[in-house]
């Protein structure tokens, strides 16, 4: 702070009277906070409230706010459709796959790259790279690779006698989608785990090793419990992301074949923008909202509570 020299202002202005100072303080608070607040309320909070509001109307999305009130009809209609039941099933499948396969895989790779092996910095950079590519690039790339006629996957796998329609077959479309998700996202979770691992003091691990614990026991009883907060956050992010999964599915399959890979967000976009049933589509988005919110509240209340307690006491301690 050596650049801050005593300017002439310091001499010119005596300390302001308390009343002026107080008004100036509120002026500063208002001026600094207002732009962010207005933008946030207008484009985040209000639209979500409007979505909740318009879910109770039959509305094609035109002409001001909706007027044709139908109560919960959109929801009863929605809960009766097979497509929506499928959407929920796909959500469950993807969440289970992510939590039981993708995240353990990411964790294993993170532990691997935490070893002293040659070139691990390069591995880290490469494994994380797909996360930077857009969902569209990823989706188009894999739609070409998994294409039944000319795609690379069938060319390579036909050596082993494996060939499939991949994205065009209702039986293989979900595993294929999951494979693409793993390609794109495991590096993200790996990075979170690596960062979490770095916060664990090496002394603890070394002490366990000195006591003669095998590397598996050390991992199971020292590293894994201490990584708990990181793993819980990574599961949280994974689930919230899956609830609103759209881009990848839209590009890879469009939800097909015959809705076999459709997600709630895809269904919502179909009805909202292709069929102009904005009220009905809003009901779908409200369900997504409620699912996210309920999951977040329950998860934070029962699973992440221990992690958050430390954070909030820390916050209250300052200023």
């Amino acid at each position: 702070m050596t650049t801050l020299t005593r300017g002439p202002e310091a001499v010119k202005f005596p300390a302001p009277a308390p009343a002026v100072k107080k008004r100036g303080r509120w002026l500063t608070i208002t001026l600094f906070l207002l732009p962010a607040l207005v933008l946030f309320l207008l484009l985040v909070v209000a639209p979500i409230l409007v979505a909740v509001y318009s879910s109770a109307f039959r509305w094609n999305g035109f002409g001001g706010l909706p007027t044709n009130f139908i109560g919960f009809d959109n929801f009863t209609r929605l809960f009766g459709t097979e497509i929506f039941a499928q959407d929920l099933w796909h959500l469950l499948v993807l969440v289970l796959f992510s939590v039981c396969v993708q995240l353990p895989f990411s964790l294993a790779i993170a532990m691997l790259l935490n070893q002293r092996i040659r070139g691990r910095a390069l591995y880290r950079v490469v494994f994380f790279a797909p996360y930077v590519l857009s969902e569209v690039i990823t989706g188009v790339l894999f739609s070409l690779i998994l294409s039944p006629e000319s795609g690379m996957a069938n060319q390579l796998l036909s050596v082993f006698g494996i060939e499939s329609e991949w994205l065009a077959d209702p039986d293989t479309v979900m595993p294929s989608l999951f494979l693409v998700m793993t390609w794109k996202y495991f590096g993200f979770h790996m990075m979170i785990y690596l960062a979490g691992r770095q916060n664990i003091p090496n002394e603890l691990i070394e002490a366990a090793q000195i006591d003669g614990a095998s590397s598996w026991r050390t991992f199971r009883h020292i590293t894994l419990p201490l990584l708990g907060p990181t793993i819980r956050i990574s599961i949280f992010l994974s689930v919230i992301y899956t609830i609103q999964l759209f881009d990848l599915v839209w590009i890879l399959t469009g939800g097909g074949p015959s809705h076999s890979s459709e997600t709630m967000a895809v269904t919502m976009m179909e009805y909202g923008f292709k069929r102009s049933q904005v009220g009905y589509a809003s009901a779908i988005s409200v369900v997504m909202f409620v699912l996210s919110l309920v999951f977040a509240l329950i998860y934070q209340r029962f699973v992440m509570r221990r992690d958050l307690e430390g954070a909030t006491t820390n916050m209250g301690g300052r200023r």
């Binding site: 985040v44 569209v136 060319q155 809003s282 977040a296 200023r319």
Partner: protein, 280 residues
């Protein structure tokens, strides 16, 4: 990060390397396939998916590089990403400053409102946002995407910046005020320069988020002139559906800015994600 206190324990690392190589191949093979495929004739792609091209066809790449629409999309994406980032970071920095340094009634409530924004899925708001932007005549206007992206980027940016602003000692602020700094002067001339690492981190996150955004531009932009790169790629795939080699060339060229930016900003990106994950 890495403590090299003693010589590494010499265990047999061959299995570790084998696993790392398999995973690396899983990541790299699709990208290499695209890169080489862009140099192949379509007839060759199906017979020789992964070998080097028999003859290196450069037309696919040069055609894309010579097309105006590719560069227009590149420009649109860049413009939107840069303006979104400046706007997000500016507004979040001002708000974060207040949340970090001013105690006032209702502060925690307001801050909670912002942090709750982290849990609002973007897809929930997309229909009303579309209607809102249409009402204000912001469809097919970059501003429609920029303002919305900034609004949704605010929560995480404010949380990260507020955390950083708090960590700057109060003595510095007192010294600055005694020396005649106005609140804005302190913010502009002292706090922001000190917060440069945090600003870099949130900027990188905002740029990557904007660059990759698909859903919002998809509903806002109907005219080809305003398309961003993701929209252009999707459209290109539809237009040249049977010309796989050409699409691969387009994909590879579209990857270059993202991967180049990643190479430059890797540290900030990873730092931002781990900070965002633990603070979110």
């Amino acid at each position: 990060m890495i403590h090299r206190k003693k010589a590494p324990a010499r265990t047999n690392t061959l299995p570790l390397h084998a696993i790392a190589w398999v995973v690396g191949a899983f990541i790299l093979i699709p990208v290499i396939y695209a890169f080489l495929g862009g140099f192949k004739a379509n007839s060759e792609l199906s017979g020789n998916p992964f070998g080097l091209p028999e003859t290196w066809v450069t037309a696919n790449y040069t055609d894309v590089l010579g097309s105006g629409s590719f560069w227009l999309q590149m420009w649109n994406s860049t413009f939107i990403a840069v303006v979104t980032t400046v706007l997000t970071v500016a507004l979040a920095a001002l708000a974060g400053f207040i949340f970090a340094r001013y105690a006032f009634r209702g502060r925690e409530l307001l801050f909670t409102v912002f942090t709750a924004g982290l849990m609002f899925p973007f897809a929930v708001a997309i229909l009303p946002i579309f209607v809102l932007l249409r009402t204000f005549g912001l469809l097919d206007n970059p501003l429609g995407v920029i303002l919305t992206q900034a609004a949704f980027g605010l929560p995480l940016t404010i949380i990260i910046l507020r955390g950083f602003f708090r960590s700057i000692p109060g003595e510095i602020e007192e010294a600055a005020i005694i020396d005649g700094c106005t609140p804005f002067g302190f913010f502009w001339r002292i706090l922001l320069p000190m917060a440069r690492p945090a600003i870099a981190t949130v900027s990188v996150l905002a740029i990557v988020g904007s660059w990759n955004n698909f859903m919002l531009p998809l509903v806002v932009f109907s005219e080809e002139a305003s398309w961003t790169l993701p929209l252009g790629i999707q459209q290109f795939q539809g237009q040249y559906a049977s010309d796989t080699a050409r699409i691969l060339a387009y994909l590879v060229l579209a990857m270059v800015p993202a991967l180049g930016f990643y190479a430059l900003a890797e540290r900030h990106l990873v730092g931002g994600i781990t900070a965002g994950a633990t603070k979110g």
